[in-house]
Amino acid sequence: MELQTSILECPFCNRIVQFSHEDVTLLQHDCGVVLQRNNGRLVEKPIATIQHPVAIIQKGTAGRWNGKSFRVTGRFRAWMNESVYNYWTIIFDDSSIGYLAEGYGIYAVYRKSDLTPSNYTSYQQLKVGEDTNLKKDVSLILVSKNECYRWEMEGEIYIPDDVRKFKTYEFAGEDGSHVEAIVINETVRLFDVFYVPYTTLELTNTRNREPHEQKLNCGQCSKPNVVKTFPFAQSYACKFCGAKHKINEEGRYILDQRSHSGHLENNITIGASGIIKGINYEVIGYALKQEVNEPSSEWKEYTLFNPEEGYAFLSEYNGHWIYVRERGNTPVLPDDRVRQFYYGSESFALFNRYNSRVRHAIGEFPSNIFNDTQRNVREFISPPEMWIYERSDKEGITWFLGEHISRKELQAALGDSIGMPYKVGVGAIEPKGFLNPGKILMVALVASLVLMAVHFLTTLSKENRIIISKSYALDSNSTVSFVTPGFKLDKWRSNLEFEVNAPVSNSWFELTGTLVNVSTGTEYNLEQGVEYYHGVSEGESWAEGSSSATGYLSEIPRGTYYLQINGNGEPGLSSYMDAQKADRFTLEVTYDVSNDRNLGYCLLALLIMPAIQFIWVLIIEKKRWENSPFTP
């Protein structure tokens, strides 16, 4: 489809007005007026324009998504219940149009969906967490609903219909898909939503973010405060008295709750900056939060901000730190009873569930944190990560991904601006000692199989060559001596196995063998005894020993050898009843035999470390889960 543009004349300044795309219907002209294209004519529209951009993206910014290039033509900035979101109109190289929605560090590409929308009333009746039945084979649940109560624009934008307010409904599917319904004047338009990391967009021709700081006086103590991330900060607390303020529909901060806070004990100076996880952040807020349940645990949360990457948080509890960011691509829970789920290949287990309140705060926050007591929070852990699920029927479902961050990393990033509290116990996602027990077993199993395979391969070439296999009679003194003919042992090194069998009963027989190297004269000596005793004692039979035994000569180098054998049976009469002395014996000497005992010892040695790891993990995990009401 060719890019269609149309060229018209501004009715006010008479200069050329050119629209970049047939779907672009609203344009802020160079002369400042907002013009709507309607049936080939231009009509002025009393739509607010953005006076302070406060964004790095601008008209003319270029980028890439999914292998396609796009350029930005403009945006409308929507003021929602508890957020301000930019919808940038983007036109791709193939002339298709969409949005790049961004706010709070979340970036998403919107494309018109092929799904058939339902009637708008069905969306109004949906509750958070309910399935919308938009897709037949995949469950798509409602995760958020927002109402845009006002919006303003810059550049050229694609916004269907004449609209002052609109509603959005976001759905998430178990297959990872996201769909958003934008309802304007009872008409539903569906968009497929693709969350993308900022860096993958490869944005060029961006601008420096010029902050639109709000300087205002506290509604309680009248002292001056500055909100740096207006209009995205939805609440702030006075840095002098802690009085809580929220943003209203006119975009002004008003006193929400008075504060009687005392000393705040924040460990990081507000205004400090540093590079955390590769991103340059400024610390803009601090809140002391408390669980609204027993044991009423308290933790500290620091709000961070970066112009491109948006907001993040540092959460500290008992000296353990977690770096937290809101995410778009997230797990989808079918219902509230889930206690474990898989995301990627990792299993996350429910660790904690609570509602919370803010006890003290200073600085600014991306949402109104002072009205969140109805927000149910669930934490699922797979150290060193945590998925934090926050849900309220009014605000919807929000997911945050937490990652363990070490004290060392934070000290390196923030230097003197951070004071480290003492560490107590094991942190919820502290990676110390954590290994998935299933993985330990898998590694042990694989290592064992590899070891057995190595043993099998190295014993495949064993000769098992019989050097001697013969019976010998003992003389009247129960002895025998002889020398074997010479024989060659041809391997670099190997072993000789001596199997001795003598029909003894309550008697013994001993074999002495000397292996002599014909060339060097080196001798290898072996003594192997056979004894077997049995009887009846107090009515019970007993037996010990055996009439056969096996001995070895190991690591015999190659060469020509002969064997000198001496066999000795018990001389004289035995004192045991039913004694039978050996009058002969059988000797079988085999060269180059495999030794399965080596495999056994090696397997034992191999499994020591996984066993120690397993026990260590059990100990550490017990300590970790002491802080959780959901011990697995």
């Binding site: 590694v443 070891l451 670099w492 072993n495 060097t520 000596n525 080596n598 010892y601």
Partner: protein, 57 residues
């Protein structure tokens, strides 16, 4: 998969020492099997050579 298990991002990183020990045990087993060495043997094998240690019975 990151095969350098000594790099922190590798999924095998937590098992790096197990892997090292496993490799050493495998090497020992190969040597023992190829040389006829019986591990942890308490057999009464004695050796005598004209040049070296051991005793002549």
């Amino acid at each position: 998969m990151k095969w350098n298990f000594f790099k922190a991002g590798s999924p095998l990183f937590p098992f790096r020492w197990t892997i090292i020990v496993a490799i050493m045990i495998n090497i020992m087993l190969v040597f023992a099997n190829l040389s006829g060495w019986r591990l942890l043997a308490s057999d009464a094998q004695q050796q005598w050579a004209a040049k070296g240690p051991g005793y002549h019975k």
